[in-house]
């Protein structure tokens, strides 16, 4: 299901949805260089640890750790990870994980000529080695895209995990 807010420039909305789908395709095909090209130079890429807490007013905010992250990356550190994955001795990805990023519940919160805020849900499906049963992990993306050189580039991604305990044997894939 893809839903776009009304009163926005239809072309941009379709473009942004294409961008999300294209990104999923290259991530699932391990085309890391193409993915790097989709990121702005000042990309902020984060996933805070989720904490189960009693209900409070600002619920989700309180549930996100301010001291511990599953991802806290910039372009340089993303490049560091990518360079590692290209190496045949990166045992966690050799043989490589087989993944699908299912993107849904897309909400475009704001869009203008230079910037857009896009929220989406992702169901991350991963199969490794000869395991018949996949690992499944759901999360929400809070993305900021910037329009640079006629392209939408990812400037910020905040990943809000559903789980306080990750159901993944490692996090060797970008989300």
């Amino acid at each position: 299901m893809i839903y776009s807010s009304k009163n926005m420039d239809g072309n941009h909305i379709n473009d942004l949805i294409d961008v999300l789908l294209y990104e999923a395709e290259i991530l699932d095909n391990h085309q890391y260089d193409k993915w790097i090209d989709m990121l702005t130079e000042d990309i902020e890429y984060k996933m805070p640890v989720r904490i189960t807490r009693e209900k409070e007013d600002k619920e989700t905010d309180l549930e996100l750790s301010k001291s511990q992250y599953h991802f806290i990356d910039n372009k340089e550190s993303i490049l560091m990870r990518v360079n590692r994955y290209k190496n045949e001795y990166a045992w966690s990805e050799n043989p490589p994980s087989r993944t699908k990023h299912f993107i849904t519940n897309v909400r475009i919160e704001k869009v203008n000529e230079t910037e857009s805020i896009v929220k989406s849900y992702v169901l991350f499906y991963r199969s490794r080695r000869d395991n018949a049963y996949p690992e499944i992990f759901a999360y929400e993306r809070l993305d900021k895209f910037r329009y640079e050189n006629n392209k939408w580039k990812l400037a910020k991604r905040n990943i809000i995990p559903e789980n306080s305990v990750l159901p993944l044997m490692n996090l060797s894939n970008f989300l």
Partner: protein, 468 residues
């Protein structure tokens, strides 16, 4: 950096009447019985003599019956690390933790004293708290509304007169208490109501080594929230690794080291190190790159002066001489830690390596599943830029997506998988066996790197405990 979270104090609900004076619960319960089957007894007997010869039978790692025995004979009677004091800094702060799958609440009482209780209500066994962290003045059971103070004492329940009258033995309604002891801010608990030894005896000679990561500054350490993930391996694979496997680093972590600035790695100097069997199943390893406390020397030379005040003289001498680059250890049974220099992005050359300190619990879920609890820690008085870069270096190297740690998972998962074999696989953990013990002015049995001596001490203690 820890605990930026809002505190909420809930007062005792008004409709609940005081029924007893607010003193302390001293209610402890016995641990369950466990008798080894004939099969397990025979397997462990064989394991005992194999270990004497430098072999480890792989069935120790993966066998479900061995796992069942460990629950009672290892975890229920050891001192298990639960939390660091800095995770519950204020009165009323609590965290929920586990020994194997026994749910516990670690709470700092209104009197500032830290106590550990079973997270189960004495009325019908409902778990009190499902949040992992919080702050409260009272604990109220959501099932029938019994209310307890943070000292574990029942202070009231709805329609008390009609429900429990006043003829009842109130002690039946106090929270189940668990023995707790604290070493340098590290909170350990023992489920045995009468622990066979105190924490200090349990740690024994290992205190000398544990001080090198826990006691370098009077300001103490600060822990982050834990990162947790579940991996299909048996907990002992990680314990074996942290108790003394530094040898795997250059193969298993080849791509991690490839990320270090070239001038910081010189193979010939890296191969200097020590491996220690510190007794009671505790193992630790040290390696160094150059002759000075390099990472802290670059980042925080002050720490080297500070440590002189907090470490004993022999600890300090040892730390400066031998443990300047990497320290990796495991407190029996499943509490690991690592202090190492790791790359982060943002600096250049030698400064692109920052020291990191991480603690972890290999929390067993079943014979082939483990939940990893992973904390970052740093001295409270560390310079602010070091705090920041050290965290980044840690996050990028020793977490679920760490450029080092990711590759460890594969080793432990496949070892566990191989353990499903129907054969009595005899592993030769004999690296370094031929080498003599050396005297470096530190306790325990010490060998030069590389050696399996620390890992073997873990297996030996495991079998001892199971046969006890």
């Amino acid at each position: 950096m820890v605990q930026g979270d809002i505190k909420t104090i809930r007062n005792k609900p008004k409709e609940v009447n005081d029924i007893v004076s607010e003193d302390e619960s001293f209610r402890y319960e016995e641990i369950l019985e466990y008798n080894l089957s004939e099969r397990a007894f025979k397997m462990l007997g064989e394991a005992e003599s194999l270990i004497d010869d430098g072999y480890v039978p792989l069935y120790l790692l993966s066998d479900p019956e061995i796992y069942e025995a460990e629950r009672i004979k290892v975890f229920a009677s050891s001192w298990n690390f639960l939390a660091h004091e800095s995770e519950i800094p204020y009165p009323g702060d609590y965290v929920v933790r586990y020994i194997e799958q026994t749910p516990l609440i670690v709470v700092r009482g209104e009197d500032n004293k830290i106590r550990v209780f079973l997270n189960a209500c004495p009325h019908k066994g409902r778990e009190f708290v499902k949040a992992e962290i919080g702050n409260t003045s009272h604990i109220r059971c959501p099932y029938h509304g019994f209310v307890y103070n943070t000292k574990g004492k029942l202070v009231g329940c709805p329609v008390q007169k009609h429900a429990i009258g006043d003829v009842i033995n109130y002690n039946d309604f106090n929270m189940y208490r668990v023995n707790v002891e604290i070493y340098k801010g590290f909170i350990f608990a023992n489920l045995d109501p009468k622990p066979k030894n105190d924490l200090s005896t349990f740690l024994g000679d290992f205190k000398f080594y544990f001080d090198l990561v826990s006691n370098r500054s009077e300001a103490g350490l600060s822990f982050t929230n834990p990162q947790r993930w579940v991996v299909p391996f048996n907990w002992k694979a990680a314990a074996d690794n942290f108790a003394g496997d530094i040898y795997h680093a250059f193969t298993a972590h080849a791509t991690g080291y490839a990320l270090f600035p070239k001038e910081t790695i010189k193979a010939n100097t890296v191969l200097t190190g020590l491996q220690v069997d510190a007794g009671n199943g505790h193992g630790i390893a040290f390696s160094r790159i150059i002759d000075s406390p390099q990472w802290y020397g670059n980042w925080w030379p002050e720490l080297i002066r500070k440590a002189k005040n907090t470490l004993t003289e022999s600890e300090y001498k040892f730390w400066v001489k031998y443990s300047t680059s990497t320290i990796i250890g495991n407190v029996f049974p499943n509490f690991g830690f690592l202090n190492a220099g790791m790359p982060f992005k943002g600096g250049s050359t030698a400064e692109a390596i920052a020291p990191i300190l991480t603690f972890r619990v290999w929390n067993p879920i079943s014979h082939d599943k483990t939940q990893i609890w992973n904390w970052f820690a740093i001295e409270n008085d560390a310079p602010e830029d070091l705090k920041k870069y050290s965290y980044l270096a840690y996050q990028h190297s020793f977490t679920a997506n760490g450029v080092f740690e990711e590759d460890d998972m594969e080793n432990w998962i496949t070892q566990t998988h191989a353990g499903n074999s129907m054969l009595k696989l005899k592993l030769a953990e004999k690296v370094g066996e031929y080498k003599p013990l050396i005297d470096v002015g530190a306790p325990g049995n010490v060998q030069s790197y590389p050696s399996d001596i620390g890992s073997m001490s873990f297996w030996r203690e495991l079998v001892n405990k199971l046969l006890e």
